[in-house]
């Protein structure tokens, strides 16, 4: 089949991002030709500011060099501007006469700076701030001249002024509005920012209208005259008074434009579905964006559509702003102006240089603006985008993430918003030993924008994940507004699919999908058999939704669940037999001791889960040691699985002078009931005989505390990476009720949670009220959940006993070369 022809006009950030995404999905679908008016590959325009400020150099900011185009078979016409689109013949023509035909056309022409229509605007020394050429012109001017005037005190103008000051110029910023950055800041914040910029030597003329640019004797610009007659010396004038979507080419092809090329949710122009537009030149639902993050969202959807998937829709973005001037922190997001129906929380410390305003609407954070201390910007932005109910944390909200979460019992060592203050040598990821400098370097040099990319390139946050918050902050402070954090479960499961966990679960239920291949077919997976991320998730969703009907696929399980033991760093395994409720007997201990000696187990350890771990067993010995343990009546402890782990107990009323309930007895009953339960993540329970709580029920997925009149049930606790105190669920009277309420809660979790979501994260997502409504308040539903759980767990086999039998046991043995001759009757070796 002949390839289709895709032509792209505009070789900038949004366009090339679209191509990158397209090549990922459908590398061979199109012959791609790119026209770019600038004589370069694709570079990171955002970083022109650090280049101007002397913090980076041009080679640092290249995203795709010429080799990239060649390696991907893309024809690049760099330095050539497209001047005509012929929609009837489906061709484009460049200024040098080159003509290329297209099947699909992608317009990514960005914006053009708005040049004030004043006399003198064409004088040498008058420039805009948009591209490499402008930046080079400014650097050059700073070497030979002294006075600069920047017109416009928006983000761009201030970053330009800052850079020029650092390069030794005297800079005055002329601004029409009453305060600087008025589109991003309120007056109080702007005043504070202005004061700190003035302290750096920046001068301001506010409410000032430029009347004329005057030439010096040299013929170059020499001064700016304002309407009130003031004259400002200026050997360089930078116009930063706004940008306009670059639409002249589109308009000449009679594509519908109004402040941008009007596009649909699939980024196709409303006039001609063969023609797409992404980036600053596009107008989507009335908005033309001017920051990278939303443009990258557009790029993804557009690439999907070009690749023929057609599922993605772009629905608009909320944006945030960050000024990249070293030492001056400014952040704003969402609706920060407020209005009659909004509340404001304001902190204003003039002397300390800190201003923060939070705008609340209907118990949600609608916007935030901050100067001086912006460490919590990323967190506030996340709250704005997620539309999360903040009523409960309202009192603390102003004091930031770490304080608020500590007040909500949510401490733990996640990113405390201090990332920007940390030195480059600070270790961020304890698991992989990655320090801040390495992360910042990778972000800058490799042009990374998302958490996933940072994980892939640096390994930071790719193991236990407790540093994710910090890494996100480093991203936010390094790439500014271009960073967009995303909720892990709001994104596709992995690179093999466009679908989220929620969509996959729903499809498996609705379409009664029973196998992984069927699910992949039904949901149009882009890889033949998935990857190590999606397959385990699919396997869990299938077996939990359709117990006894769906096939369990061991090859789609992580090795621990396939070998029914924990893999160790040297490739050996650990063996943890179940000790129901933490109870054991002399016979069991003797059998464990014998097995440890017989199989030369190097380490025998009491675990944190009240049982014994035999560490360092050879894989081929596993079936043998299991057989010995089985013979003594012991079964697998599932210490390796996303499954029921342990039910810890205290001695309880059986022995303890304070005990109010038989904790050990109930613990054993619960553990027997839940034996063999696969779950989205591991599940741990505890039963304590009284509120002294010696079994630590307060940090368990389900914690039970005996009181005189019965039991208190707590759920969604976690003692791991980030300690979460379990929340009170309900009070019940009998053992049977503990089993029913606790079991129903766990079944709800099994049915609704996403793979690798612990109960605390699940409850954080759906809300405790949701679980209470379905389990505590609705008796019929509770019983139905409980029955579904018991049904799924009926006759749960001991995996150790199962694995010891042929042919499964073969998977534990190496292929034995020496025995092969015997088995096949003769020693066959052929020379090659």
């Amino acid at each position: 089949m002949q390839k289709q022809k895709l032509v792209m006009v505009g070789n900038g950030m949004a366009g090339v991002k679209t191509l990158e995404e397209l090549i990922k999905h459908a590398p061979d679908l199109f012959d791609i030709t790119v026209f770019g008016a600038e004589p370069h590959g694709n570079y990171n325009r955002i970083l022109l500011s650090p280049v101007l400020a002397g913090e980076m150099t041009l080679p640092d900011i290249m995203l795709n060099d010429l080799d990239w185009y060649r390696d991907n078979g893309i024809t690049l016409h760099a330095g050539r501007k497209v001047v005509e689109i012929n929609r009837a013949r489906r061709t484009v023509r460049a200024d040098d006469g080159t003509e290329v035909a297209y099947d699909r056309l992608l317009l990514a022409t960005g914006s053009v700076p708005f040049i004030l229509p004043v006399p003198g605007k064409d004088l040498p020394g008058v420039i805009a701030y948009r591209d490499i050429a402008d930046t080079e012109a400014m650097i050059e001017a700073a070497q030979h001249h002294r006075h600069a005037v920047v017109i416009g005190a928006g983000l761009l103008g201030l970053e330009a002024a800052n850079g020029l000051i650092l390069r030794g110029m005297e800079v005055t910023v002329v601004h029409l509005g009453g305060w600087i950055m008025e589109r991003q800041l309120d007056k109080a914040a702007a005043d504070m920012l202005q004061a700190s910029l003035e302290a750096k030597g920046m001068k301001f003329c506010l409410q000032a209208q430029t009347a004329e640019l005057l030439a010096a004797d040299s013929g170059r610009v020499g001064a700016v005259r304002l309407k009130d007659g003031t004259e400002l010396a200026a050997d360089l004038v930078v116009m930063a008074a706004g940008i306009r979507p670059s639409t002249s080419l589109a308009e000449s092809a009679r594509l519908h434009c109004e402040r941008g090329i009007v596009v649909t949710d699939t980024l196709q122009t409303v006039t001609d579905p063969r023609i797409y537009a992404v980036g600053e030149c596009a107008n989507h639902r009335g908005t033309a964006y001017g920051l990278v993050a939303p443009l990258f969202d557009q790029a993804k959807v557009c690439a999907n559509h070009l690749a023929g998937f057609g599922i993605g829709r772009y629905l608009g973005s909320v944006t945030s702003t960050k000024l990249k001037v070293t030492g001056v922190d400014v952040f704003s997001a969402g609706d920060f102006q407020g209005g009659a129906d909004c509340d404001e929380i304001v902190l204003h410390d003039r002397a300390g240089g800190v201003y923060k305003k939070l705008v609340l609407k209907d118990d949600k954070l609608a916007g935030a603006v901050m100067v001086g201390d912006t460490a919590d910007g990323a967190w506030y932005f996340q709250l704005v985008r997620e539309g999360k109910d903040v009523a409960e944390m309202r009192d603390h909200l102003m004091f930031g993430q770490s304080f608020t979460q500590s007040q909500l019992g949510d401490a733990g060592h996640q990113g405390q918003s201090q990332a920007a203050l940390l030195p480059d040598t600070a270790e961020i990821c304890g698991c992989n030993g990655v320090c801040k400098g390495t992360i910042v370097k990778a972000i800058r040099e490799k042009g990374l924008f998302t958490l996933d990319e940072v994980k892939k390139h640096t390994k930071a946050s790719s193991s236990c994940g407790s540093c994710t918050g910090l890494v996100e902050q480093i991203l936010a402070s390094t790439v500014g507004g271009a960073y967009q954090s995303t909720d892990k479960f709001a994104k596709p499961v992995c690179g093999c699919t466009e679908h989220t966990h929620g969509e996959v679960r729903e499809a498996i239920r609705q379409q009664k999908l029973l196998t992984i291949p069927d699910t992949m077919r039904a949901l149009e997976w882009s890889t033949p058999n998935g990857c190590a991320t999606c397959r385990p998730a699919l396997n869990y969703y299938l077996i939990s939704t359709w117990p006894f009907e769906a096939e369990d696929d061991p090859q789609s399980r992580f090795i621990n669940e396939r070998a029914h033991a924990n893999i160790q760093k040297d490739g050996t395994y650990s063996v943890v037999p179940r000790m129901w409720g933490g109870l054991t007997t002399p016979d069991e201990l003797r059998a464990i001791a014998d097995a440890a000696e017989k199989y030369k187990v190097p380490t025998v350890k009491v675990t944190g889960g009240q049982r014994i771990d035999l560490l360092g067993v050879k894989k081929s010995d596993l079936p043998l040691i299991w057989s010995d343990l089985n013979a003594a009546g012991m079964v697998s402890g599932h210490a390796y699985g996303k499954s029921l782990r342990t039910v810890k107990t205290c001695v309880g009323k059986e022995h303890c002078r304070f005990g109010t309930q038989l904790a050990m007895d109930l613990g054993v009953k619960l553990e027997k009931m839940l034996f063999g339960m696969w779950s989205p993540h591991k599940v741990k329970l505890a039963v304590s005989g009284c509120p002294r709580n010696c079994a630590e029920s307060g940090i368990k997925d389900v914690g039970v505390i005996g009181v005189d009149s019965g039991y208190e049930l707590y759920v969604a606790g976690n003692g791991g990476i980030k300690t979460e105190v379990a929340q009170f669920f309900c009070k019940v009277g009998s053992d049977e009720e503990v089993m029913e309420y606790g079991g129903a809660f766990l079944q709800l979790y099994r049915e609704e949670a996403y793979y690798l979501e612990r109960t605390c994260h699940y409850i954080e997502r759906v809300g405790l009220e949701h679980a209470k409504k379905l389990v505590v308040e609705d008796a019929a539903n509770r019983k139905a959940l409980y029955e579904r759980l018991l049904f799924a767990l009926k006759d749960a086999p001991d995996p150790w006993a199962e694995q010891r039998t042929a042919p499964l046991v073969r998977n534990y043995q190496p292929i034995d070369l020496t025995n092969n001759g015997d088995r096949h009757g003769l020693a066959e070796t052929v020379s090659s």
């Binding site: 033949p528 090859q555 073969r810 070369l817």
Partner: protein, 101 residues
């Protein structure tokens, strides 16, 4: 160098692997997508993890220890990781797997 007979193909689990013990170190023999077979040293270029124990997808395996992805045909780690593991010639003949050592 000689071709050694290993085992019938079905004695290696589909999308799985088994190990051949060898004086120079274990060799992992994979049965990947489409019943294609590959053999590489059973030691991940990262920190020596047993690749034979990883999840197999397409013609790649994900190391069980820290999740590197390895191309089975070439032994190369997938970008952005860098490294390479030795690979061995392997083939199927009349349903039996052979390995050249």
């Amino acid at each position: 160098m000689a071709w050694q007979k290993l085992c019938p193909l079905e004695e290696i689990p589909a999308l799985g692997a088994r190990v051949v013990e060898h004086a120079d170190g274990d060799i992992a023999v994979f049965r990947a997508a489409g019943d294609s077979v590959f053999a590489v040293a059973d030691a991940c270029p990262h920190k020596g993890g047993p690749l034979s124990q990883g999840i197999v997808h397409g013609h790649k395996v994900t190391c069980p220890l820290h999740g590197w992805n390895i191309e089975l045909a070439s032994g190369h780690a997938c970008a952005p990781d860098e490294g390479c593991v030795r690979n061995y010639p392997v083939r199927i003949e009349a349903g039996t797997v052979w390995l050249e050592l």
